[in-house]
Amino acid sequence: MFDKTSQMALDAATSGAAGKLRTEARSRARSKARGLLAVLWAHRFSYLFIAPFMLSFTAFILIPVLAAVGLSFTYFNAIQPPRFIGWQNYQYLLSQDLLFLKYALPNTFQFALLVGPCGYAAAFLLAWLISQLPGTLRRWFALAMYTPSLTAGIAMSIVWLPMLTGDRIGYLNSLLLQLGLIDVPKLWVTDKDYLMNSMIVVTLWSSMGVGFLAMLAGILNVNKELYEAGKLDGIGSRLQEIWYITIPSMKPQMLFGAVMAIVSTFKAGAIGVELSGTNPTPEYAGHLIINHIDDYGFIRFEMGYAAAISVFLLILMYLSNKLSWGLFGSREDE
């Protein structure tokens, strides 16, 4: 009897303690949740403000990107439903796809390493030169430099194709022949030795895009008093001004320009096909990763494989982005 009651009392006590513990944990969790909610509520203005963008971003970019990443693990020919095949696409890409390993990858690296940094430097240099001129001239020169981006492709082939034509009539060939620099007309866009160089030159010509506009605005944005203060501190030449005042005060724009340079060079692809007029380019001389994606996605209809290449390209860009962030980003941005 006694045993039983004591046992019951003990039970009650332990269960009470456990219950107490449980309620304590629950209340702690609840207060934590409440704390989180309070934090979120305190920042409600921010969330409200980012909501419109985030909604359309999620619907039209994030979900499609995630879906594409998902597709990269499937075999999908755009007609039948996708079939899950695991890492096979990636394995094939990195071990057996000769066109990719032998042409697309090295070509892309060569192209990006030349066009990216050179285009970036040229954009900054031209933006700075324009900023040194008075206002009325600025507007017109800015227009001139941005023209290739504004006329987007239509006129590019019109300017460059006649210039680079492989016969004696081509502007460049006839000029070089007249000057006696070459004896035979060169096949600028159909010879595999020249195609890549032609692509690089034409892309550099048209590389004054949004990065250039941002840098121009950034340079004009620099506080004029800084230059006067710099002069008092003994800055003499314009080069010193650029290095010690202009670039540090427009770091955000420099960073934007760098990211845009990386993105646009890695995403370039149509240029080789446009110039040479053949797809694929002669002996794959101008075959870039984007061409490879187009090839598999829209000619062979292997969307799953094309998605896998896109993911690979994304990783490539992400890594080069990290590199430039390390070079230009301030600690706060990391």
């Binding site: 020169f141 800015a142 950034g218």
Partner: protein, 303 residues
Amino acid sequence: MKRNGFTPGLQNVWKQAKRLARENRLDGFQKALTLLMLLLAAFMLLPIVYIVGHAFKPYHELFVYPPNFFVREPTLQNFTELFLVAANSTVPMSRYLFNSAIITIAGVAGVTIVSAMCAYPISKLKFPGHKQVFALVLLTLMFAPEVMQIPRYLVVSRLGIMNTYWAHILPLLAMPVGVFLLKQFIDQLPNDLLEAARMDGAGELVVFLRVVIPVCMPAVATVAILTFQNAWGNVETSSLFMQDDDMKNFPFFLTTLTSNQANLVARQGAAAAAALIMFVPNLVIFLFLQGKVIATMAHSGIK
């Protein structure tokens, strides 16, 4: 009055040019620079010269190879041809232009507002998760758009906005470049400036509208230029998301001019004229907004 042999109108222009030259007096460095830049600019501007000249070329000049940049015997026949084609099409050309105008105006207004609203909290308010949001926006910038087309089509059809103006406009709103650019410019604003405004009793909305936006006008104008180009030249939404012809836009109409033709000669004149009509708004908007960028820098006292 006739001293220089100019008509009075031209004389006014001349006077104005002289006044401008006096106001913007150039030093030696600037003179050399101007000359150098003029050479470069002439080369870069070739496409514009070409587009304008091409629209006025008669047929026997359109196909000369290598092409002439300047038109030799200008004619308006390309424009008459374009209007004849348009008059015979089932949907009047004005409808395509109207669609394009609506999409472009809504797109530019929408993108600049939505991007600025998103960029300000990410840059200055540091709400929990702002780093993740920004990282996500940046990362998607790098994804090749080609393979997103099919999933995007599915999203649009699931949302039930096929064949409406929403399907033209909503996908435009998601422009990561705009958010990125504006965020970088807002980063540059000194925090003291925002604090000062808050001390004066301004709420976040007022700070955003009265301080952040005016000071970042150059970036807003740049985003507007970019969006205008995107929206005005956008063929993708018309060809993928619109079934009815009268919901498609002007650039789509242009692509139909020369495609599906028995040969490559027919309607090239109309296409050349249409290319000019397509290009001129781009040019005007760029010059207008770029002028704003430069004017704002000159007049804002905060820099």
